[in-house]
């Protein structure tokens, strides 16, 4: 499942970069995040309860940030499993200055498996996109929207 999007943030690229690397910001903006524990450099142990309405699953796994090129680019890898199945995602975040703000492009390839993939395909793509969108929307709110 390939997803992508762009957001415009009303903060200079360096600020955006710092926020994107701030565990506290990740904690606040990741939908359904229950727990985020730094277990190594750029490596986190995470527990998420995500889904929509009554359809929620708890996943625990790891989140890794790699290929860091401050302040423009990093890659993020996420792997988790739980009762409703598992998910595995890889994506990249690219920043570029735009006026006084910053243009953020994100793209990712998320694989969802097990129960939720088998019975939830009708909404899976849309919900996945929505959740990622929520994350960046939250960043926008923290940093102020550029649009």
């Amino acid at each position: 499942m390939k997803l992508d999007g762009t957001n415009t943030l009303a903060a200079p690229i360096e600020t955006v970069w710092t926020t994107l690397n701030d565990p506290e910001a990740l904690r606040r903006c990741t939908p359904g995040l229950q727990e985020l524990k730094e277990v190594g450099p750029d490596t986190y142990q995470a527990t998420l309860t995500i889904g929509i309405a009554a359809v929620k699953g708890t996943y625990s796994g790891t989140l890794r940030i790699t290929d860091k090129q401050p302040p423009r680019h990093y890659r993020i890898a996420l792997e988790g499993s739980g009762g409703a199945g598992f998910m595995k995602g890889e994506g990249s975040v690219d920043l570029e200055p735009q006026g006084n703000g910053t243009l953020l492009r994100w793209s990712g390839d998320v694989q969802v498996g097990g129960l939720i993939a088998g019975v939830g395909q009708r909404m899976l793509g849309g919900v996945g996109k929505m959740l990622i969108g929520q994350f960046f929307k939250c960043l926008e709110q923290r940093l102020g929207s550029g649009t």
Binding site: A54, V55, R122, M123, G126, K129
Partner: protein, 290 residues
Amino acid sequence: MKPAAFEYFAPRTVEQAVDLLAQHGDQAKVLAGGQSLVPLMNMRLARPAVIVDINRVDGLEYIVAAPAVLRIGALTRQRAAERSRLVAERCPLLRDALRLVGHVQIRNRGTVAGSIAHADPAAELTAVLTALDGEVVARGPGGTRVIAASDLFVTYLTTSLDPREIITEVRFPALPPGTGWSWMEIARRHGDFALAGVGVVLALGGGVITEARIALTGVGPTPVRATSAERLLTGRAPSEGLWADAAEAVRAAVDPDGDIHASAEYRRHVAGVLVQRALCEALTRVREAA
């Protein structure tokens, strides 16, 4: 496919139900017809800790015609509404859409309000409520409030209802005499969720369209009101060309997802086709009424 353990309550009054919801918050789910909730629980996709079964609550099963509005109680089964003469007379758009909700067996149990509260992105009744600018009446710990359709649907399976609130009534504005309507949808099979569906209401005066309402389902996270197409239609004389323009306006306005049953592009295309056909049918009904 057996649900995880849950605690079960069967309140007798709305107050008891609301108390239970207030107590358990988002750990609880309301069980009405159970046509969506029970499968989700059996597959363990939903694991509510508490079930508040409102089927024994008295006084929630009714269809009442008030001036300009049809009030449907929260426990009114879809099949009852589908077969109600009041619904047929005052809100034929609802009746036509109901006929395409699942199968008869589903409609025998499923409730009108339950379908709206579940807010499936491809449901019929959410779009009907949206097309008609209907409302729901919700009761919660803080009392009763009325929520307009435009404020109700938030995203996939999500409404603006608080977890401690239940819908007690759904209100569908009645169509004034002489109004045309049409419900059209494309589903892979009879009774399946729509790949795209549209409800249209059309009124004419002096040879031009005085009112056009278009709501779509299956083409986004929530029902979509095609306001740009409505504006384009209002004040113009009906014609095939106008319908085609409205279809294009709808296609430009919707952003459907693709899935294994149909691509996003397909859904966008047929949303337009359905709008065109529904407008055509609605116009025929206006003319028949005249």
